[in-house]
Symmetry: C2
Subunit: 476 residues, 2 copies
Amino acid sequence: MTEAVEKLVKKSEDPNKWYLQLVLMAKLADYGPVRGTFAIRPYGFEIWERVQRDLDDRFKATGHKNAYFPLLIPESYIKKEADHVEGFDPELAWVTIGGREELEERLAIRPTSESIICAFYKNWIQSYRDLPVLINQWCNVLRWEKVTRPFLRTAEFLWQEGHTVHVTAEGAREETLRMLGVYKDCFYEAMAIPVLTGAKSPSERFAGAVETFTCEGLMGDGRALQAATSHDLGQNFARAFDITFLDENQDRVHPYQTSWGFSTRTIGALILVHGDDRGLKLPPRIAPTQAVVVPIWRGKNKGEVRREAEALYTELKDSGLRMEVDLDEEHSPGWKFNEHELRGVPVRVELGPKDIEKGQAVLVRRDTGEKEFVNRKELAGKLNGLMREIQQNMLRQAETFRDDNTRRAESYEQFKEIIAQKRGFVVAPWDGTKETEQKIKEDTKATIRLLPVEREEGEDLVSGKPGLTAIFARAY
Amino acid sequence: MTEAVEKLVKKSEDPNKWYLQLVLMAKLADYGPVRGTFAIRPYGFEIWERVQRDLDDRFKATGHKNAYFPLLIPESYIKKEADHVEGFDPELAWVTIGGREELEERLAIRPTSESIICAFYKNWIQSYRDLPVLINQWCNVLRWEKVTRPFLRTAEFLWQEGHTVHVTAEGAREETLRMLGVYKDCFYEAMAIPVLTGAKSPSERFAGAVETFTCEGLMGDGRALQAATSHDLGQNFARAFDITFLDENQDRVHPYQTSWGFSTRTIGALILVHGDDRGLKLPPRIAPTQAVVVPIWRGKNKGEVRREAEALYTELKDSGLRMEVDLDEEHSPGWKFNEHELRGVPVRVELGPKDIEKGQAVLVRRDTGEKEFVNRKELAGKLNGLMREIQQNMLRQAETFRDDNTRRAESYEQFKEIIAQKRGFVVAPWDGTKETEQKIKEDTKATIRLLPVEREEGEDLVSGKPGLTAIFARAY
């Protein structure tokens, strides 16, 4: 356990180092032999499984079914949609040899699956009766990225990609926004991450989409993270792949499509939003372990304390909590406290000989550090309630942080100052041109994160032309 | 819906055509553009999700955790274990270009993950305190197969692969057999497939294993299918990848490993074991839809029957059953009966005006074809009980079929005759040599499917030498 003796750098001192250290020390992930590839270790994967389950339930509740499409996409398919290939071509990995033979046509490992899925949809969709198609896929994808960081940007990553087909443009737009809402709910309710939602500017659209919507989170270091996106594809792919159907008037027309994705990148968001100098801080709804019993024994009473700790563990587990008990004999209680704080376990339950005598236990919250003595009989109820409270409090904390770091800029000088000194979200009018967007990016590294639904009129800070509200930030 | 008007060939007439037709007609899968690749359609995928959930619960109940390892394996890693590379090299697909550049070392898409996982385990395992490692991964793998068939043999397929590490040889052997048992339970209890279990002969071992155990199912056409395998890897991979740990005596030694896998191939087994001339027959525990309400209306009473059918659907759904109601107005009830039989829905609930009048509904079982009139008030209870009954009956039917098609051969003539005329499992002594195994294969296309735990002594039918029981069959 080399990781455990290492000391975590302070988040405020060196947020990048803190992030990379924490990922390894909490055993969330580890580096693979191929640049930009990672293993997601059991503790990290269990978080992902819980997020996945939460999201999958929401997909099914909104009428979606899962399916699975091939990993390998022939080059000719990728090339069918012009914008799409332009966007993804530089990042593709190509299979050129199979079964010891050179392939006639090289095959891309999917960077996203629009082009292969459209090839199937072309056959599956014949009539308006076949619509809507509401299909989702959980899978791995690969993008040959130059600079990588575990979870946040990796060559291979896990995600889900929804691909739906609709009779009308309105149907597709509704779906795009519905799934944006599903993502938002998952971020708020399961991950306690108060994302902002809105449209992307045209330059940040998904390659091939007519409109891209995004969930943007604000990380602890004041940078924004694009956490999930939902795309209205219009008829672009339907035209490129010649997907048509007979409508109610027996006319052969192109349908409208959407796609939407949410990836293991969100685990990075979870670390960055909630983590602190002590390590991870996990929202109870997705924490693999919600509470850990740490017995505090000395030589003579070890047997009794151990037995009581095990009994308490069983009792709390049976009450429906995801529990651990740390009976390790190699390390001190203090060492264990640090370790479970590093792992972000929402509550620690301390149990010593005095507590046993008094029929109590000590609860310590990871989110506030608060300590409370609780009667043993009330413990299960108290802990279950505490899970809801911590979940809510973590969301509140993150909302407060986000709101405290969302600032209006009244002049371009002020804009630059905020970005340089405080980061966070900056709210300012934008004239809608690529030119000002580009200038701001060059001057400040800030980009338009989203265009909110409610946009106010105002003067663009760069051009002085009439503009509408945009939200800027430096981003991951 | 081109599929629905097509007529399914009889299973007994042309089992191969029947299988391929059924896969398409029941919308389980569809052919991809790259040879040997397939999409698993929502109906097929939902079956897989239920099997997956069943198996994953069993893995977790036996102490395993899920994780995720990289898709791409450097050539040098694959080559580390000599038998392993010999076994898999002909089937590999190679990535040679990434991000528009030729790679220095080519990368294989995982055909199985021992070699990449061992690279991680080498770092994760230092001390006996780190053992056992009990990790499973759900993922896609790729093998460049020459002849492919949906589910049964595909280039890319989905599976789980468990990879565990133990202090002792006994620990690894116990795990190998434990997971063989977990697979067997899943086959029996969830899939109603009465597999036989036992060891493989040395020539059929997994590349790199010291012993391979298998679950073998008997398909409806009398051929066997290797449905899942569990491998005792001994120290072969630990040596090749230099995985060591400090034992309790502070000696640095190699650990013992296992791996075990279960894939979407089992969906093929499900089709072949239970399917009949009418189509699929799904065990209730993994059927996406357990019962379907089919209203029978004529013009004037349509409104009422429709309402009642919807009410009945809701009522049954609320009782915990996975229900559908078929309110389609394009097709006749007869057409719908065929369609849901083809899809293998365990029970059909017919509801016509007379039934409504009498406060009843008609239940029709897919497994026996039996029809029963049931009082509306007793319907939910009756149906829930019927699910257990059908599940048991399907297992019984399959066991009877298996037992009726398991024969002892007393002479090689008889052996050849059984394989040629009846197929099924043939029980005969084997002298343990490659030579007789090979001769039998050449003469009859039958292979040793497994060596049972209890083996009787007898004379090898080919060589006349002393032998022990082996079970032979022609296999998929």
